[in-house]
């Protein structure tokens, strides 16, 4: 006997889903917009920005969950834009805007969520720690040349132990994927103390190991 297809309700609409699909995945498949800042189709879900939170009712429990990392469950009832959820997203984008007032993608998201004023003192960071570069380097390039150093508010993207990394192959994947796009490859390398690329026309020569790389 064929099993009954599993279904989930999102914003009042009922959808069937495949095993392993996340709430975000199903919503996007059906054109329901949930804002995200650390999600990327090519990478494993990570769940760090928390912008994608939704209200999930499952059994008799109602909880706030990050939709990008929460697998859909049979009978779940999801609401993507309750007043509480909107309040959380606004607070989150205020926090990120205070951290990175000059990153375009953050500014755009703030506009989208209707946030104009930030009740916190502003700093000027060029990275909002979405971790896409770190994950891309590990998952797509497969070299793990960069990771997070320090913790908490001091976290930064850096090569392991903050040392000059020989693992980096200068492929540029991290800069291409970076949604902040506030620096180019050269700056990334300089800042992270890794291979520094010289040269024109997208071909670079690392001043440390002297090999040539594409990208830049």
């Amino acid at each position: 006997m064929a099993e009954r297809a599993k279904s989930i309700r999102i914003d009042g609409r009922k959808f069937t889903f495949r095993r392993g699909q996340t709430i975000l995945g199903i919503a996007r498949e059906h054109g329901i917009d949930i804002p995200t800042l650390c999600h990327h189709e090519a990478l494993e879900p990570y769940g760090s920005c928390r912008l994608c939170v939704v209200e999930v009712k499952s059994g008799d429990r109602t909880r706030t969950m990050a939709s990008c990392v929460t697998p859909a469950g049979d009978g779940m009832v999801v609401r993507t834009s309750t007043p509480g959820i909107r309040e959380i997203r606004k607070t989150l984008i205020m926090l990120l805007l205070a951290r990175c007032p000059n990153i375009e993608s953050i500014k755009a998201m703030a506009r989208k969520l209707g946030v104009k004023k930030v009740p916190f003192p502003k700093s000027d960071e060029d990275c909002y720690l979405c971790g896409m570069c770190v994950r891309a380097c590990a998952e797509i390039v497969g070299v793990r040349a960069i990771g997070f150093a320090q913790r908490g508010h001091e976290s930064v993207v850096a090569p392991p132990f903050g040392l000059v990394s020989n693992a980096c192959i200068g492929c540029g994947t991290c800069t291409t994927i970076c949604p902040a796009r506030t620096f180019d490859l050269d700056k990334v390398f300089a800042r992270r103390g890794m291979h520094r690329v010289e040269g024109k026309d997208g071909v670079g020569r690392c001043i440390i190991c002297e090999t040539y790389y594409m990208g830049g």
Binding site: R50, T70, E87, T91, L129, G152
Partner: protein, 607 residues
């Protein structure tokens, strides 16, 4: 003074755990810094913030490095003496020196029979009664009997059923039913391996029950793990001990070796078909590594950061295999349950919280130390009958429960029975069982600020609400205690608290706003006094008080002159002294030592 200061001392580490801070560690640190500057200008001696050294009853604690002398109960008034005698003169200040070594021996006999009367020892059943290094001692006290019964007489399902019947819940903070957790892991589609873990990361400042259990009775934890492994079908166990606990680590390793030598661990335990062994892993030291997913990542050699759940460890844990994580105290409760049955254990406690709980009773209370009481004992019984009441018979203001992310319960709620549900209803948590008693000299805004700062330092930084939000909360609290609070700050704190609680990835963020939320709930007037009246009702916040000599009371005894680390007080003997406001660092040393109440700490109005 042109002579260059010569000293062997490199640093003075002042414990900044919650108990020590409440006991005045920050003033002590400020006074030490000032005394160094005054007496040994140019000397390269650092005053550092130390982590909780588990001597919480005797705070503030100062450790002199490198010689390792530990001073307890230090006050700002002692700073000058420590600097002059020890740092400059190389002599230990005997009066303040702690006993050579802190051994978690028997519960200190405090002369108060009440301290023992209401206690029921299950997890701590052997504490102080046996030699922790002797497996024979343990066996002579019913040791390994529960495990022998579980392995030779019971089916795994029966063990799970007994633990379920006992109603045992996780003692590491979450309070999840242990039997149910075992069952889920047991029924998890099996592969070749399943793992169990003992979480001994104990990061809460002011809590030291896990350390004490491992140091004084390591076999009880190992026996519990063997029983759990049998029930779950696990082949390997790990004890994850935080690196600050070297003695606990050594004792567990020795206990494991001895158990193996006796055939209680390893292949074919008690000649059955059951094989199981345990390894010890030293923790990396970060608070968040106590969170189970971060802990497993750390054992795997990866970055110790939490990851989203699901999948839960029982589905996909260590190296992707079904894994069951329990706290030290949870494991220590298992052998008596196996031996005496679940019904016996469930006869103690309340409707939904069974058995006993170990608490570390610290702060402004007469009898401090670890206590074990049945769930449902009231807060009043714990503080007044067992604890002997508030230190110096001052007025009780609040009890902080649950560690840094717990909450403060006000004095008028002391009749609540202490169990998981009641504490949650009060807005706090059971956590690992820290109970910090606070008297009327405690500023609740300052307390909230302290815990938020601790959590800010410990946030792993992965998710936005916790990483950015806690820092913003701390900034707001900073300005409130500095007398710079603004209209709207309370509402902003509430907004941040809501988002951090709801949206954080792991339990650290999800509980981090508790200290602020509970103090706002029960002590909102104190926040308002700081913000709108620029006044600290408890007289704690330095920016909002001023010390002065009350001329009519001062006898000119010169005690304060000697105590002041910066030489701000002067005056001829037998005549009212003078306090120089420009020099005063507001450490309160003079206030502390004056025998005639002639130093007043007054509220001042800023702006």
């Amino acid at each position: 003074m042109s002579k260059k200061a010569v000293t062997k001392t490199r640093s003075l580490s002042v414990c900044h755990g919650s108990c020590c801070v409440l006991a005045g560690a920050r003033d002590v640190a400020a006074a030490l810094k000032a005394a160094l500057k005054e007496n040994l200008p140019g000397a390269r001696v650092k005053v550092k913030k130390g982590r909780c050294s588990a001597r919480c009853g005797g705070g503030p604690v100062v450790t002199v490095e490198p010689d390792g002398t530990v001073y307890t109960g230090v006050t700002p008034g002692d700073a000058a003496e420590i600097v002059k005698k020890h740092v400059a003169g190389g002599k230990v200040v005997r009066r303040l020196a702690a006993k050579a070594k802190v051994e978690p021996g028997p519960i200190p006999a405090l002369g108060e029979s009440g301290f023992f009367k209401d206690q029921v020892l299950i997890a701590m059943r052997n504490r102080g009664r046996i030699d922790p290094d002797s497996i024979d001692d343990y066996i002579a006290n019913e040791g390994y009997l529960g495990m022998a019964k579980a392995v030779t007489e019971m089916k795994p399902e029966q063990i799970v059923a007994e633990v379920k019947k006992a109603g045992l819940r996780g003692r590491g903070g979450g309070g999840f039913p242990t039997g149910l957790k075992w069952e889920i892991c047991r029924n998890s589609p099996s592969c070749d391996d399943k793992y169990i873990i003992c979480n001994a990361d104990e990061g809460d400042p002011g809590a030291f029950m896990d350390r004490s259990l491992l140091e004084s009775d390591p076999h009880s934890v190992i026996e519990g793990m063997i029983i759990g492994a049998r029930a779950i079908g696990a082949t390997r166990g790990y004890v994850y001990v935080r690196e600050e606990y070297p003695l606990a680590c050594d004792r567990v390793i020795k206990a494991i070796d001895d158990a193996r030598a006796y055939g209680l661990l390893g292949e074919s335990i008690l000649k059955s078909d059951f094989s199981f062994d345990i390894d010890v892993v030293r923790g990396a030291g970060a608070f968040v590594c106590g969170e189970e997913t971060a802990l497993m990542a750390s054992i795997e050699g990866k970055e110790g950061k939490p990851r989203p759940r699901p999948p839960f460890p029982a589905q996909s844990g260590l190296w992707g295999k079904p894994t069951n994580v329990n706290n030290v105290e949870t494991w220590a409760n298992v052998p008596p349950i196996a031996l005496r049955g679940g019904a016996w254990y469930a006869s103690l406690g309340t409707a939904r919280s069974k058995g006993t709980k170990v608490f570390s009773l610290v702060g402004k209370v007469k009898n401090t130390g670890l206590i074990e009481v049945p769930m449902g004992t009231t807060m009043r019984q714990i503080i007044f009958d067992i604890g002997g009441g508030v230190l110096k018979d001052r007025e009780l203001k609040a009890v902080q429960t649950g560690g840094p992310s717990g909450g403060c319960i006000p004095a008028d709620m002391m009749d609540i029975p202490v169990d998981y549900e009641e504490l949650a209803r009060a807005g706090s948590i059971m956590g690992s069982g820290g109970l910090i008693v606070m008297d009327d000299e405690t500023c609740m805004v300052d307390v909230a600020r302290y815990f938020v700062e601790f959590l800010e330092d410990e946030s792993c930084g992965k998710c936005t609400p916790c990483r950015e939000g806690i820092t913003r909360m701390r900034e707001i609290l900073d300005r409130i205690v500095e007398g710079k609070g603004k209209r709207g700050d309370i509402e902003l704190l509430e907004r941040l608290a809501f988002t951090i609680k709801e949206a954080s990835l792991c339990g650290l963020g999800a509980t981090a706003p508790n200290p602020v939320l509970t103090t706002l709930k029960y002590f909102r007037d104190e926040y308002e006094a700081h913000i709108y009246k620029k006044r600290c009702p408890a007289g704690v916040c330095k920016a909002l008080i001023i010390y002065r000599v009350v001329a009519g009371k001062c006898t000119g005894c010169q005690r304060c002159v000697r105590a002041c680390p910066v030489g701000a007080i002067s005056g001829p003997r037998s005549q009212p002294h003078n306090l120089d406001q420009d020099k005063c660092i507001k450490c309160g040393a003079c206030y502390e030592v004056c025998k005639f109440d002639a130093i007043a700490g007054d509220a001042i109005y800023v702006e």
